[in-house]
Point group: C2
Chain length 221, copies 2
Amino acid sequence: MKIAILGGTGSIGEGFALRWALNNEIIIGSRTLKKAQNAAQSYLSEMKSYGFDISGVRIRGTDNYIAAAEADIVILTVMFNHVFSMLESVYDTLENKILVTPVVPMNKVGDYFVYSPPPQGSAALAIKEAVPASTRVVSVYHNIAACKLKDMKCQVEYDAVICSDDEDARKILFDLTHEIGCLRPLDGGPLAVSNMVESITPLLLNLGVLNGLEDVGVRFC
Amino acid sequence: MKIAILGGTGSIGEGFALRWALNNEIIIGSRTLKKAQNAAQSYLSEMKSYGFDISGVRIRGTDNYIAAAEADIVILTVMFNHVFSMLESVYDTLENKILVTPVVPMNKVGDYFVYSPPPQGSAALAIKEAVPASTRVVSVYHNIAACKLKDMKCQVEYDAVICSDDEDARKILFDLTHEIGCLRPLDGGPLAVSNMVESITPLLLNLGVLNGLEDVGVRFC
């Protein structure tokens, strides 16, 4: 699979790149070409430092548009308030593609994070409205701590609840989630119920601060 | 502590009764006196069948009003659509008491459960509006499977996120949660963010059906 990680120069983008690079071709997208290229280079170095033979590993950086255009699957690793201008800028590249959203709309009110969905009810439903009808939107990976995702020695297994209206796309994300190694994929149902998964993220941030827990994830058992 | 379990004749009420009866006095409330008395009797038998010496165990049944009036702490184990008529009927008994709500407003839309909060934003906030100003509302135990709660041999440890605006009440619920034995109490912040805990329950129900998981709970790690 060719996977574009849009806005992929941050911690969470790094995590996906490292975890998927052994089995897939990774294209880091950024608004700044140079930033994307530097990130790609540093992710390769990071893999080498973990002891992987990177001679066959393909991670490269380019601008968001080219990254999305060249990929089979596009994942959005940007803040909610940047999502829609980004989607507008890559709109036509998304025809018939799988678009993965781990995006969570949230705000801080006083000392606490709160879930702040748009009028559509969730980031996932708002994103579905902002892409071509042929784009298959999958909502997943909201509740994953970036620090644990990019730590390839992390053995703790978290759950990744997958919401989508497209069964083929859901299956592909099940497989990609297994490849990550520290995540168990779970079927969460249609995109319409993504709000209940997205809203766990601000809760996790609050629980971390209030209870002295670090990089909190979730497990359903 | 004297704990009233209002609407306590169902599975979840049974779970709380069995778990707390070793250290507390339990008053089962029901709209029907006889039903409450029968439930109390059967919970005592259940404890005996687990091998506990029940000579000092106090579980009794009465109507909801008397149960609430005689208790230090009142827990609501009724469906969301029954909560407000019940609160109206016991209103004056709740002055200065701790009121515990594990109540989750949810509906089924098609094949899936969805979180359906009232205009206040959560069951907890709506309940706070419906009780005396002196009542200290604590929102907790939404995500606990009744079957596991009432199985006193259940060793799996789940998380119970506690939201309240009253620190003393939160502390008391921390202690009561430890007494339950299969739950880890976590501070979730103020009542205003209870919606993010309540909305996990319909998600758990969906995850159970879609992934063949039974009596699903949640663990933050």
